[in-house]
């Protein structure tokens, strides 16, 4: 699945591009709190630490990381709300 398709099927897209640590997970938390269980949030980030931090955030919350797409200095995380 390409990035456009992933974004098109998301219930919410949170763009944390350009934001430094810890803002990607702060925005992720804020965003996912607006969703219902089972819905999909796509999180975009450019912070290099987010590649490890977003999986760690998911680990500590009740959500599931469905997919990570990396390219052009951007990371796309597909998170299903638990």
């Amino acid at each position: 699945m390409n990035v456009q398709e992933i974004v098109a099927q998301a219930d919410l897209v949170v763009d944390a591009s350009g934001l430094g640590c810890p803002m990607p997970v702060v925005r992720a938390k804020k965003g996912i709190d607006t969703l219902q269980s089972g819905q999909i949030m796509v999180l975009k980030a450019t912070d290099r630490g987010s590649l490890k931090d977003v999986p760690a955030w998911v680990q500590q919350t009740r959500h599931t990381l469905e997919e990570v797409v990396e390219g052009d200095g951007e990371y796309i995380f597909v998170v299903r709300k638990g």
Binding site: G18, L19, G20, C21, P22, M23, V25, V26, A28, K29, K30, D47, D53, A56, W57, Q60, T61
Partner: protein
């Protein structure tokens, strides 16, 4: 048991504010309760004039450019995010009194309490940190 993070911010300078709010905000994003006890040189962080009172230590001044380049948010934005995240901000009453500061000198939402209040909270914390 709920996840709980207890932080003491007692160091001086802008760098203490960054270190403290970075971990505090990440903790809140990870569904943990977070409280920060601001004491001694860390107290100005929650003062209304905090942004103008806090400076990087001279040896850390080269970091200012890096903070700007990597879009690290300014302290007032981090404090706003902390308040929105439900992070408790506790100012050390003893330090407030010793400096002759008043409750009105502090940003909205700050609590005033002492060591026992922090410890009562921290006794049940899985993570305790001092910056």
């Amino acid at each position: 048991m709920a996840k709980r993070v207890a932080i003491i911010a007692s160091g001086g300078g802008l760098e203490t504010a960054y270190k403290t709010f970075n971990i505090a905000l990440a903790g809140a994003a990870m569904d943990a309760e977070v409280a920060i006890f601001f004491t001694f040189e860390g107290l100005p962080i929650v003062h209304k004039q905090g942004p103008s009172m806090l400076k990087l230590k001279p040896e850390n001044e080269p970091m200012a450019e890096g903070f700007a380049r990597t879009n690290v948010p300014p302290i007032d934005q981090l404090i706003q995010a902390a308040k929105e995240s439900g992070i408790r901000l506790i100012a050390c009453q003893m330090t407030v009194d010793a400096l002759g500061w008043k409750a009105d000198d502090f940003i909205d939402g700050v609590e005033f309490a002492g060591a026992a209040t922090f410890l009562d909270y921290a006794m049940e914390a899985q993570v305790t940190l001092n910056f």
